[in-house]
Structure formats: C-alpha cells, structure tokens
C-alpha cells in the first residue's frame, strides 16, 4: 500500500516550520495524556509555564538548571561532529569535578577566589579531557568501540567519587559521617543578575565553538573527518591527531561543566553532582542538530521543563512526573518528526489516487536523473531563485 522514499531537498524554511509543528504536536500529545489522567489541561500548562518563567527567581532557577546541560551538550557536540559517539558525558563531568575538588583540597583555605576559581575550572577541563582521551586513544589506535567504552567510563567515575567520598577525602570535620569538604566560599562562582556566571561561560563557549567549527581550519578539519575519513586522509589531514584533539576538546568542555556545577551550585563533590546532565545533554545536542547557538535554546527549554515540573506539584493532585511525561512526549514527537523530514511515504494502489498529486519531491535516486540534465531550462530557473536566497 505504501512505500518509504528518501526525501532530500526540503527547503530550509519548511524544515524549520516542520520542527516547530513537531514541538506543538508534542504539547498536544501531552495535553491528551494530562486530560486522560483527569487534570485540567490548560491550567496545568499555565502552571508549568508560570513555574518556569513566572518570576525572577523562577527564571534564575530555570537558567541554573540549563547551565550544566548547555555546557555539556556543547562539549559533546564537538565529538558528535566527528562521529565519535561520546556517551561519557557523566563520567567526564564527574572527573572534571574531582579534579577541581582536588585543587581546592590542595590549596590553603584562605587562597583568593581570583586564583582558586580559574585554577579549579582549568583543573576541571583537564580532568574531563583525561577522562575523554582514554577511550579516544583506544578508538583511534585500536578501533575499539567508543560508545561502550565511554559509557563504562561513567560508572568508573561514579565509583571513584564514592570511594573518595567515603574514604580518601572523607572530611574529618563531619564526625564520622561520609562526605567531602565543601569548597571555600571565595571559590563560589560570582553571580550576575542573580544567576551564577556559568551562564556567561556557556554563552561565550557557544559563540566560540560556533566560530571554531565554521570559521577555522581546525573546525573545517573536524567537519571533514566526521563526514568521511577517507576524504580527510586523501586531503592530507592527519586524521588521528584531529580526532584526538577533538576528543580532548570535547572532554575538556564537558569537564568544565562539571567544575562549573561544583563551583556554581553544588559546592561539594558527591556522586549526584551531575544531576544526569551528562545523559540529558546527549539528547540536547541532537535536538539542536549539533548547532552551538541552538544548544543554548534547547538547554533552556529543558531547564524550563524541569522547573515547570517542580511547580505543578503545587497544583493540587498533579504529580511532578507529569513533567517527565511531557519531556518524553516532546522528545518522541521531535525525534519522530526527524524521520518525516528525511523520508516521505508514497502511497500506491487505491490510496495513490488521493496522494499522487502531492508527489512532487524527488527521492535521492530521482535526483540523479534530474540534475544530470545539464541544460534543462527548468533547472536553470530554479538555480537563479536559490542564488537569490543566498
């Protein structure tokens, strides 16, 4: 009855409208679920929105949730561009935070924040980079599977924190209770507009990454390596080095997120310090199509969903898990929508009579024949239009 055909040349504006529709569809689906659970749909939505953006404090909460998500997603996006499936965001964040804590424990208690903060952030970057480069080296030199490797590195990092927490770095001041000494007050990240300045770091990083990927030689190399290693090799690129450098950068940024989380909101190292950001960031990076500016937007959306979900608990009877349900449904419709962006369904047989007229866009194979027509009058017309757009 129907077939699935590749759909290659959707204009950009259509794709954007399509994605917006997918998000709206996600909200409609959530509405149906909320209604089915017996709660007032619009009230719940209103409460959620108010919970996320309703007051200055709530907006500040939303943004502080978004900070680790954004920085981690930015870091992961670098690796994803090279098709290095870095699932180890959690581990790299944690190891970054471990390294930062290490610095804080080593320094005298009265060290100035001007020295302590940069040192801790730098240590976080180095820590994340180390945790990332280990699977990186194995991938580059021994072709091991980085997905599993980075995933397993997460658990090692978590266990390491627990070991430090309960034994090596156990704070004697806690009188036998487990726990690592909190960082000194002067090491806390300063606040701007009531939010820790991690958001500035995220914004600057997003801009810098955008420029690096699109405007520098190294960014170009990363893009080429991700698309086709043979081509990169052929063009004389040192694929192994580019990969390793990219992974170092990716791990470093994720480690920075760990340190920012430590210095900006957690203030003490524990195994829950990431709040799952390392995994959520994978989704954010993909939803934003690995584009740095979009990552910021999507991360704020995720932050809002989280604060919003906390807020609806205040509405009598609505459980906060409704927020998780919404998160899931939004992801479902956005990611499901990507399928319809890349493919279309062609109906045949009786159904074809209804749909045939709509069958305009060509499949990948069709494309070959069309564009082969090197002086077809129509294809010329099309070209001038598109050139104008540019």
């Amino acid at each position: 009855m129907f077939r699935i055909v590749k759909n290659d040349n959707l204009p950009r504006w259509k794709a954007i409208i399509f994605r917006i529709c997918a998000i709206l569809f996600g909200f409609v689906l959530s509405g149906i679920v909320i209604a089915a659970l017996g709660f007032p749909v619009f009230e719940t939505f209103r409460f959620m929105f108010a919970g996320a953006f309703g007051s200055e404090i709530l907006i500040q909460n939303t943004i502080s949730f978004a900070i680790p998500l954004a920085i981690t997603a930015l870091g992961l996006s670098v690796a994803f561009r090279m098709r290095f499936w870095n699932i180890g965001g959690e581990g790299q964040m944690i190891f970054g935070a471990i390294a930062a804590t290490f610095v804080s424990l080593q320094m005298p208690d009265d060290t100035s924040g001007f020295i302590l903060i940069p040192l801790m952030l730098l240590a976080g970057m180095i820590g994340g980079a180390i945790w990332g480069i280990i699977p990186g080296i194995f991938r580059v030199y021994f072709h091991s599977n980085e997905t599993l490797f980075t995933l397993m590195m997460n658990y090692i990092a978590i266990c390491l924190v627990n070991y430090l927490y309960n034994d090596v770095w156990k704070d004697p001041a806690k009188h036998g209770f487990s726990g690592i000494k909190a960082i000194e007050a002067q090491a806390h990240l300063p606040k701007l507009f009531g939010v820790q300045i991690g958001f500035l770091i995220a914004l600057v990083l997003a801009g810098a990454l955008y420029l690096m990927i699109n405007k520098t030689k190294f960014g170009y190399e990363i893009r080429v390596v991700g698309e086709s290693e043979p081509t990169a090799n052929y063009a004389g690129m040192n694929v192994k080095w580019i990969m390793l450098l990219g992974i170092l950068l990716s791990g470093g940024i994720v480690g920075l997120a760990g340190a920012v989380q430590l210095n900006g909101s957690a203030f003490a190292l524990a195994d829950g310090i990431t709040g799952g950001a390392g995994f959520t960031a994978i989704v954010i990076a993909w939803l934003s199509n690995l584009s740095a500016p979009l990552i910021i937007v999507v991360a704020i959306l995720f932050g809002a969903l989280k604060t919003g979900a906390t807020a609806i608990q205040m509405y009598p009877g609505v459980p906060s898990s409704v927020g998780s349900v919404m998160q899931g449904l939004l992801l479902f419709s956005v990611i499901g929508g990507e399928f319809f962006l890349k493919y279309r369904i062609v109906f045949s047989g009786k159904a074809a009579h209804f749909f045939r007229r709509k069958e305009v866009i060509s499949s990948e194979e069709d494309e070959k024949f069309i564009s082969d027509d090197w002086n077809h009058p129509n294809s010329r017309e099309e070209s001038s239009e598109q050139e104008g757009e540019k």
Binding site: K215, A235, G236, V346, E359, E367, F369, N378, E385
Partner: protein, 517 residues
C-alpha cells in the same frame, strides 16, 4: 517518431506516452517505447535523458504520472517491482545485488518459494539454464570468489529463474573484458533466438551496432526515434543522442620531444590489511607532457597504485621517485605540496575526494585550506575559485553553495577534476574520470586533460573504456591482479592484445610477442 519496418512483429511490451516528472523537471515526457518478442533492443541516451527513469517505471520502482504499460497486449499497473517481475520483466543492474558470503545457487533462489528445493534439484535447474544459453557457472561456489562476469551470470540466471522473458541489462559490459563481452553477447543472442526480449542499455555504440536489432534514442526525456540498427550509422546515432553534430575523435596532441622524467616507480609492492597481495613489483616511469593510461579489470590494483603514489596508503615495498626525489613514505600533505594531484573517482563517486554534505566551495577548500596562513579559514578567495571552476567546466548547479551530494555524477566528477587541475599539479593522477559520463561531458574532460598534457603535466590516466585509452593516451600500462602485464604504445596496440593482457597474459614491451604464463 518514425515507424519501424517490423510491422508484423509481436510486441513483448509497450510503454505508451509515459510521463514522469520530478518537481518541475520532466524526466520522461510522453515517451513511447516498444520492444518486440525475440529482439535485442538498445536504449540509448546521454546521462539525464531519462533512460533510467523509464526503466524504473518499467520495473515498478516508479509510478508514472501518466501513460500505460502493456505486456503481451494486456494493460498492466505496476505498483511495485513485484508486479513487474510477475509479468516476466527482469532487471540486471550495473551494480550487482548479490549476497557475497552465499553461494551462487543460494543467491539465485533467495526469496523464492524454491528455497526449500533439494540442493541437487536446484543445481540441476541452474545447469539447465546455463546449458540452454551457453553460460558457465558453478552453483556451489561462494559469490565472493566469483569473477565479475560470473556474478553477472548469476544475476541473469536469477531473473530467468523468476520467469523473466523480458530482460533489461543496464550497462552490462562496463566491467567486462573484451573476451567476456563476446561471450555475453553470444548468450544474449541465444536468448533472443529463444524468444526472449532484451533491452540493452549502453554508452558504447560499437557494441550496440554489433549486438542489437533495433534502437530507441532518448534525449532530454523525449523519445527521439526508434529505428533498425541496419538503417543507421554510429554517427547518426550520436547526433540523435546529442542533438547536434559532434566531433568524435579524441585529440592526441603530440608528445613534446624533450621529455623530462617526472615519476619513476621502482619495484612497488603492497599487501592489504588481510595480507592479500594487491600490487607486486610494479615498475614504470612517466614523463611530463605524457599521458600514461592504465588498463585493467576493476580491482586489479589501480586504486592501491593511485593511493600509494598520493601517499594515502603506505607503500609496502619499493620506491617512488618524483622529480628525482624519493617521496616514499611522505605524508599526503607533503606530496600534495610537491605538486602531485590525485582525482580518484570511486564507484560511489563520493567515497574519497569529496565531502558529500558540504557545498562546492567548501569542497574546493579541501586542498587549499592547509596552505592558508593563520588558523582562520579564508573562504572568500575560494568562493571566487569555485565560481571560476563552475563556469569553466560548465558545472550545472544552482549555486556554489549547493551540497555536492545533490549534484549529478558528471557534475561531481567535474568538481573533483576542476579542483585538482586548479592546483597546477606537475603530476595528475586521475582514475575513472569519465565513469558514467555522457559523451558531451566526457569530451570536456578529455580536452581538460589534453590541455594539462600540453602544459607539460605528467598524467596517469586510469581508465575503463579501451577505445578511449587507445585514443587519448600515449602509452598504456596493463595491470592484472596487481602485476604489470605489459606497457605498450597506445598508437600501435590492438584491443585484442589489451584484452589478453588484462586477463593475465604477459606481453613484453618492444618485442610485442605474447607469452603465456
């Protein structure tokens, strides 16, 4: 459309007024195509003339916008390839669709009810087909061990077993040696005599003249003419395809007298990661202002040779001397810097040399960016270059910001070649530069190469079409299974000699005598 002389003939199928458009482009515009029972019918046309679309409609892959298909006089609606197979239409694609680890027999019976047949029954069935049409096949052999022509035989038996009486062969000779082509033709003739109908798609007009009974020419989605082969000449066919007179002979500018040796390869050997010998004891030299052709069946070591010279693959053994300097083991970038350019066009065109999702400008940048100072990309000058290449090579693209993946094969090849030539190389390695290109584009590329030759560039031209190799190149080196079986003067050699060398008979330069090994 002119009437054919075979008025009394019985059409096996006819396609009437087939229209198929993609977006605003009419790929088929009211095409009529009719093939009789017991004839070999050639379908000719340049790239983009609508051949493949027409055959996709026939095989049920595309639904036509309008038009009818009649098989044996009965109107049929094809909604999927299954419907088309049920009507006895079989496609033999250029790129085989076989499962490599399975045996020939398993590939033939896969997906049919006969899968549960007893092995010996199956093999007997296969042999029956083979004997009937004079084909050779070992049903028990694993597919990856089969030669290209054996694989093709498997494909043909596969469609015959599914009851095909109408066979469509898409460029079946592109990968065969002259000897294998002769054998294939005799098989096809036997099928014709048995009442099968064969649609033969080829770019090689000599073969069409030799094999076919009638011919239909498509041009820009319109069927230009159907006529008997005996009534037309090669020249007339080309004019019909191209729509204008075209000078067919490839120019071969004379080699200048003061040849400077540019490249010398000494005793080069290479084994791949699995330990298979891909090249053994390759030695040859190449001078500036000369085109050295490389002939050989696909997979005879051409790819490895190119990649080793370009530094992409490490040389196993032996030396490569470029302008008196040993470049063995240099990095690809160092070799590029010295003035070696490689345009290798693999089967999928995009596997190496281009980044599919990037636009033309970014792809031109691939070879330039490393030589720009600083860490920031300078794309303005590259855009200018890209525009120039698009203009010079008549690349058909909406803009230089169009992803190359969306360009047609010919245009993709022009982008690669244009980029490589723009680097002003001293040595240009080009592999399969005209693969799948139509006549017009091919000649543009021959002209480009000749231009480079006259500028004193040494050119290593890896080719497929022997006619072209013999007309374009100065000398031809033949590779077979990673060994040089001969280096001959392109002006004096014959196709038969080349064919023999391609299949492993060593021919020694100068003596011109064939020695069987």
């Amino acid at each position: 459309m002119s009437d054919t002389t075979n008025n009394d003939a019985n059409p096996a199928f006819s396609m009437r007024k087939i229209c198929k458009s993609f977006g605003t482009v009419m790929a088929n515009d009211c095409v009529d195509f009719e093939v009789n029972k017991g004839e070999i019918h050639a379908l000719l046309g340049e790239n983009g003339s609508g051949k493949s679309t027409l055959m996709s409609v026939l095989s049920g892959v595309y639904l036509p916008d309008s038009g009818d298909i009649y098989v044996d006089g009965k109107k049929q609606d094809f909604h999927s390839p299954k419907d088309s197979i049920a009507c006895g239409i079989g496609m033999v694609y250029q790129h085989f669709r076989l499962a490599e680890p399975m045996t020939a027999a398993e590939n033939i019976f896969v997906g049919t009810e006969g899968f549960l047949l007893h092995k010996s029954r199956k093999n007997a069935l296969i042999r029956q087909f083979a004997v009937q049409y004079g084909m050779e096949i070992d049903p028990e052999k694993k597919t990856y061990l089969l030669s290209v022509s054996e694989k093709q035989t498997v494909e043909i038996i596969k469609v015959l077993y599914r009851g095909a009486r109408i066979l469509v062969l898409d460029e079946p000779t592109a990968v065969l040696t002259p000897q294998e082509i002769t054998r294939l033709f005799s098989v096809l003739r036997k099928m014709r005599d048995n009442g099968c109908s064969i649609v033969f798609i080829s770019h090689k007009l000599n073969e069409v003249m030799d094999l076919c009974d009638r011919v239909t020419v498509l041009r820009k989605g319109i069927s230009v003419e159907t006529c008997n082969i005996s009534d037309v000449s090669v020249h007339e066919l080309i004019e019909k395809m191209v729509g204008k007179k075209i000078n067919l002979s490839i120019l071969r500018p004379p080699v200048s007298s003061d040849l400077q040796e540019n490249l010398k390869v000494i005793n080069l050997s290479y084994k791949d990661a699995k330990g298979l010998t891909k090249l053994s004891h390759i030695s040859f030299s190449l001078s500036g202002g000369e085109i050295l052709g490389v002939a050989g069946l696909a997979g005879s070591g051409q790819k490895e040779l190119c990649e080793i010279i370009a530094g992409v693959l490490p040389a196993g053994d032996g030396d490569i001397i470029f302008e008196g300097e040993n470049i063995t083991g240099c990095s690809p970038r160092a070799i590029i810097r010295k003035g070696v350019s490689m345009s290798f066009i693999p089967e999928d065109r995009l596997g190496m040399g281009l980044v599919a999702s990037m636009d033309i400008a970014d792809n031109i940048l691939l070879k330039d960016y490393a030589f720009q100072p600083g860490i920031i990309l300078k794309s303005a000058s590259v855009r200018e270059k890209a525009r120039q290449i698009v203009k010079d090579l008549e690349i058909n693209t909406p803009s230089i910001f169009h992803p190359v993946r969306k360009l047609s094969g010919g245009n993709i090849q022009k982008v690669i070649l244009g980029r490589e030539i723009r680097l002003n190389p001293k040595l240009l390695i080009t592999a399969y530069a005209v693969r799948g290109l139509d006549i017009h584009s091919s000649y543009t590329i021959y002209d480009l190469l000749n231009e480079q030759k006259e500028k004193g560039v040494a050119i290593l031209y890896i080719g497929e079409d022997l006619d072209v190799l013999m007309e374009l190149c100065d000398r031809i080196m033949v590779l077979c299974a990673g060994e040089i079986t001969g280096i001959v003067d392109a002006r004096s050699t014959t196709k038969e000699d080349l064919g023999q060398m391609m299949s492993g008979t060593k021919l020694y330069e100068k003596t011109g005598e064939a020695i069987h090994v």
